[in-house]
Symmetry: C2
Subunit: 340 residues, 2 copies
């Protein structure tokens, strides 16, 4: 049988209230009793049952974290960032992934929100539907949405500046490499990220007086094979550069180009978006846009804790946009050494 607070109380010859006070440092307690209790606690390896503590304090010290997947190096950084901040603050991370059945998992995190099992939740669900958002908005616990622009609600959001990231990349291809026919491979239609990146791309063209050509926009799906498949269309539209809306597709593009004996980086410029772990190790090293995933995780965790710690104070929803960074490697045609 596990040791309970009553056991300790009995052994110390005091009431459970006193044991509780000794353990939590709340209220008055005499030095001797405290000492004795703490000794007994150590002796019997007594650890208060979290289930009971949670119920009586009405909080769980755990934060939910919902991610689309953990395959690939992309989301790992988010988890790491979240965990870092939460564990520092003695919070736990309840992890949930969406990979298999998005619909089902959406239900799952919705019900998690009102289950009382967590004190706050961080959701990264790139293709969330309005109906789900509506339910989430009713949350009694703090919510931070990542990567989706949810407005007019009581949920905080953290976004990446996709627009300017794509703008800088396109600008780079135009200004430095003098490309005028730049193909853009999009993500899935519903993807907010993809849409913003396309906007940035278009805006750069406009700013540099290059006419936007629909034929140069190919629909992709954020997967490697999606990138591969798009190459055909890009080439037939006479593209001299291919800007994929994420690194995975850029990788597909590179592989497909090589299969066709076209030299990526030399004959055709290739660029990606995300700066995942391996993007520097592929050949040619990928020119891409860095997303601060680790910072996103840290910031999300901080925002949640902040909301929890100022439960009473009413704050309007926050919307933070983190800036991206252009990472120039070789796939665009630049010549940098391996070290960056």
């Amino acid at each position: 049988m596990k040791t309970t607070i009553d056991d300790i109380a009995k052994m110390a010859g005091v009431s459970k209230s006193t044991v509780s006070r000794a353990l939590n440092g709340t209220g008055y307690i005499s030095k001797e009793k405290k000492k004795k209790i703490l000794e007994l606690v150590k002796l019997h390896n007594y650890v208060p049952d979290s289930k009971a503590v949670n119920l009586s304090k009405n909080r769980t010290m755990t934060i939910g974290l919902v991610l689309p997947s953990v395959e690939g190096p992309f989301y790992g950084e988010v988890i790491q960032g979240v965990e870092e901040v939460l564990s520092e603050n003695r919070y736990f991370t309840l992890f949930m992934t969406e990979s298999n059945a998005p619909e089902k998992n959406r239900e799952r995190y919705i019900s998690l929100i009102s289950s009382g099992r967590i004190d706050g939740i961080i959701i990264f669900d790139p293709q969330v539907d309005d109906q789900t958002v509506e339910k989430v908005m009713k949350s009694e616990i703090p919510v931070v949405y990542l990567g989706e622009d949810i407005h007019g609600t009581n949920v905080d959001t953290i976004l990446v500046d996709n627009f300017n990231g794509a703008y800088s990349m396109t600008e780079h291809l135009i200004k430095v490499h003098k490309h005028e026919r730049i193909a853009f491979i999009t993500g899935p239609a519903q993807s907010f990220d993809s849409v913003e990146r396309l906007r940035g791309y278009k805006y750069a063209l406009e700013r540099y007086g290059i006419k936007f050509d629909t034929n140069l926009v190919c629909r992709g799906d954020f997967t490697k094979s999606g990138g591969k498949d798009a190459v055909e269309k890009c080439l037939s539209s006479g593209a001299t550069a291919i800007f994929a809306a994420n690194d995975e597709m850029a990788l597909g593009v590179i592989e497909e180009l090589e299969r066709r004996r076209i030299n990526p980086g030399k004959e055709i410029a290739v660029a990606g978006f995300d700066d995942v772990f391996w993007s520097r190790y592929i050949r040619p090293p990928l020119t891409t846009v860095h997303q601060p995933m680790h910072s996103i995780g840290k910031m999300a965790a901080k925002m949640i804790l902040d909301r929890i710690n100022s439960r009473d104070i009413v704050k309007s929803p926050m919307r933070i946009v983190l800036s991206t960074r252009l990472i120039v490697r070789n796939s665009c045609g630049c010549k940098t050494d391996l070290t960056n």
Copy 2:
């Protein structure tokens, strides 16, 4: 104020016991009352408070998962595997990483074990010390240790067949590529994985009548720069092939060789271990040993659930060894196309 079971009971004009029965399908209950209660539940979006359920049922439907890190694609697969099985069984995953301060985090998961917050725990802690293991052995909840060979205890373990993996790789380098001077870069001294891989390497040499030469064994640390640093020693010992105990180091080796204008795969064979996500995308594509990380995760989760569901039945500790698979790409000198 959140709706409680008492609220529902009052509204339905029944006792809370009846509501509980309606919700859980336990015991007898009349059709009409059940229907009415369920309607009210839906209407008010009532979800039972997990904190209370956990306490009264004395279980949390949560399994702890401790990983060294989530950076890189290596552990992501483990999480995915675990999550897959747990979520199917309506369990939650409490995630914990060790990255920053191993010592402190070790304490953290030890205390997590006896906190009553989780029903079981999966621990992947490659450099765990005996003292910690001893504490873990006292656990009241099921424990599965990954990657460490803990014996004579009540914890289950899942291991990867490092020995045979390294053996096959070394054999490949000897039989197919006729190498006789194969350098081996180890991981940190305490790493069980590294030790086993070194054993496999040695055994292969022995089997093929090649004398083992200490000079060909270089101490590494599982990091990329560790791999880089080891190259000097390998070369000066006259190695014609370099077998790194993990992919990260192999990557370091490849980069360092290129820096020295030595062609990896042609002039010197390079091999890794792990088969991480990017190992096929680097140049040359890395010949390595695949570890079934996803299966490990799934199996660990299954073992934990199995223990939980057969609490009463005493089973001796299990020790499962999963086999690895040799992945031949180009860094060893083989010529395969890009598609594998």
